[in-house]
């Protein structure tokens, strides 16, 4: 990410007249003033029913800002134009709502009650601190995240097989990829609700054949959690597998041949040659998988709705129900923000540890 590659060097004549510069300034400040004026009108008068005009004013401001880059900066400005739209988009869609979210999190706000937003400081935080279900959901997330190690092992095994000399490789690759294409909601019906149905589901039948009299896949907390993990793994193993497969195929053949000549074959060759070479790819794959795992919600919401007794709740599904059942926007947002802080801290620590482990300093 850090290295820049070759940068394009272009020398352009900068002959921009003062009038052009002034025009650019007028455009930017004019639309900014318009945006501020519209916002003020909406906030303090009853002229508009919704914030929609504010959105249009912001769009106008964004367009003017982009145009002004070229008007003011000429060729130099048209380079900024490459990054500016995306940056404006992300700022508008993430930074504003995040600031707004902090405001919501510090207030008592129930969308279904007529009272509206009431600022209540850290009361939501205190409530969270004493909410056993939230802590339970966080613990579940730790379990779910640890399950990635098993997924990784399976994905690595499959990638190794796909990279070896086999027939019909393309067929197997497509077949192994397909679960990733399916929507988690469809998967929760296909597997969670029908194949695991205790009476008629094929997997329940199989379990009965194998001597489990009353198969119930979502009865006990451990079993239910395991089933959620398994379904999530089923959809996402292809993802890790493809990344690892790409990594395996990028290893030069000579390296493995040299290892073989030196007598490291099979198991030893894997552990001492292939696996270390695959470490960077593995860490990328695991990191991305963790990021996706932390968003886990669809399957939980649709199969168990968090049950039995919150045993399968992920943080996201818990907040989803908090909103769905109680319309409690303030408390839900506080939970989400705490979750975000925890994630940022955890991922930073993880990346630091990985960095130290990969580049040891003696």
């Amino acid at each position: 990410m850090a290295d820049q590659g070759d940068l394009l060097h272009v020398v352009t004549p900068d002959d921009i007249s003062d009038r052009r510069k002034r025009l650019g300034d007028v455009l930017v400040w004019g639309t900014a003033a318009l945006f501020a004026a519209v916002a003020a009108l909406i906030a303090f008068t009853d002229l508009f029913d919704t914030w929609r005009p504010g959105l249009y004013a912001f769009l106008l401001f964004a367009v003017a800002l982009c145009a002004a880059q070229v008007i003011r900066g000429g060729e130099q400005g048209s380079r900024t134009l490459f990054v500016l739209p995306a940056a404006l988009f992300v700022v508008a869609m993430v930074i504003f709502p995040l600031i707004f979210a902090v405001g919501i999190a510090l207030s008592d706000w129930n969308l279904s009650s007529p009272d509206g937003q009431k600022f209540n400081g850290l009361a939501n935080f205190r409530q969270m601190w004493n909410d056993p279900f939230y802590w339970n959901a966080l613990t579940n997330m730790v379990w779910y995240t640890l399950a990635i190690l098993v997924e990784y092992a399976i994905a690595f095994g499959l990638a190794l097989i796909l990279a070896s000399e086999i027939r019909a490789r393309k067929f197997f690759r497509v077949a192994f990829l397909l679960p990733l294409m399916l929507s988690p909601v469809a998967v929760s019906w296909m597997i969670g609700k029908s194949m695991l149905e205790p009476r008629f589901g094929p997997l329940a039948r199989l379990a009965r054949e194998m001597g489990w009299d009353n198969p119930s896949f979502f009865g006990s907390p451990e079993m239910a959690r395991f089933m959620i993990m398994a379904m999530d793994a089923w959809t996402f193993i292809p993802f890790m597998m493809i990344m690892l497969l790409a990594g395996l195929q990028a290893i030069p053949k000579e390296v493995q041949e040299a290892a073989r000549v030196d007598g490291a074959s099979g198991w030893r060759g894997f552990w001492e040659v292939t696996f270390p070479l695959m470490l960077p790819v593995s860490i990328t794959a695991i990191l991305i998988r963790i990021i996706f795992k932390l968003k886990l919600a669809d399957i939980v919401i649709n199969v168990t709705a968090g049950g039995p007794g919150g045993a399968t709740d992920s943080v996201t599904s818990f907040i989803f129900r908090e909103y769905r059942d109680r319309s409690n926007v303030g408390y839900g947002t506080m939970l989400a923000i705490v979750y975000l802080v925890l994630i940022v801290v955890a991922i930073t620590v993880f990346m630091k540890l990985v960095d130290r482990w990969m580049n040891p300093r003696y």
């Binding site: 940068l7 029913d49 990054v83 992300v90 497509v174 926007v329």
Partner: protein, 306 residues
């Protein structure tokens, strides 16, 4: 491991061959087992959509052998051969959801690819300074959006969209979906553009093209396969998105996953219609997966291997 056989097969050689054969058998055994694991749920869903109640209860598996396929499930969606010509409210509803999903997924993927390609190109070619932020920081700023769990944005957006009258609109969904896939697109495209030598643009600019002209006419065609890969990957993620759609839509802009989810609980053992609905929901992406597998793999691989 091909050891040269100088004389004839000794005991050791024969056992070696046996080990090799058993290794092959094990290998293909694992391959076939995993293929079954991957494909059986899909097979199960498609065949179940042609079953009747007794078939479900008896656990019949193979169509035409165990049971006679019926159009019951598809009829309940208005998509069976007899009902396809007639007016059907269920089908209209389904097609509306399907269209919503399609428009949101295509619209947001296209927007993300446009914005993301531009940003990735800029970051791979020029040095920027936005305040204290330089290129790696800007790059990290974009990619770090990936960490943001959707739940953090969901409730603020719910309130904001309500204020802006964007709740239950496709535009609202498209904007949010674009946001969720933008980091992935930028990641893939940065990788693509870095692999293209800058001499190409230099030559183009010597010939009198502006930097945007060079980008649009020279670089984009070369980066097209990468863009297709990013587009397909975004399409998969946005088509399947459930969380935002469930929170932010209620009647008009409901997408297919929300429709599937809302039917899940209510159907009881009425599996055939659920199976037909699920099949219809997953079929487009299965086709995409089979036909465009190359691009999907390319997209996911490009970020992984540096």
């Amino acid at each position: 491991m091909a050891e040269a056989q100088i004389f004839h097969d000794t005991e050791a050689d024969l056992s070696h061959r046996a080990a090799r054969v058993s290794k092959r058998v094990l290998l293909y055994g694992i391959l076939i087992f995993w293929t079954v694991v991957c494909l059986f749920p899909i097979y199960w869903t498609i065949t179940t959509s042609f079953k009747l109640a007794p078939d479900v209860m008896q656990g019949n598996m193979v169509p035409f052998v165990d049971y006679d396929p019926q159009w019951r499930g598809w009829r309940s969606l208005g998509l069976s051969p007899e009902t396809i010509g007639e007016v059907s409210t269920v089908r209209d509803e389904f097609l509306k959801r399907f269209l919503n999903s399609g428009i949101s997924a295509l619209g947001s993927s296209a927007l993300a690819v446009v914005l993301g390609s531009m940003a990735a190109y800029g970051l791979s070619r020029f040095r920027y300074r936005f305040g204290p932020m330089k290129n790696p920081d800007i790059s990290f700023f974009f990619l770090s959006q990936l960490i943001l769990p959707p739940v953090v944005l969901a409730l603020p957006f719910l309130v904001l969209y309500r204020e802006m009258a964007l709740l239950d609109t496709r535009i609202g969904l498209i904007l949010l979906y674009t946001l969720t896939v933008l980091p992935i697109v930028i990641w893939i495209m940065q990788d693509q553009f870095r692999a293209i030598p800058t001499e190409l643009e230099e030559a183009a600019m010597v010939d009198g093209l502006s930097i945007w002209g060079a980008f649009l006419t020279i670089i984009l065609p070369i980066a097209l396969p990468g863009m297709v890969a990013a587009f397909i990957l975004s399409l998969v993620l946005t088509w399947n998105e459930y969380f935002f759609a469930a929170l932010l839509t209620s009647t008009n802009a409901v997408t297919l996953p929300v429709m599937v989810a809302s039917q899940t609980g209510s159907q009881g053992i009425n599996w055939w219609s659920m199976a037909a609905l699920s099949t219809a929901a997953i079929l487009p992406l299965i086709v995409v997966g089979v036909v465009l597998e190359r691009y999907i793999i390319k997209g996911m691989a490009s970020g992984a291997v540096k």
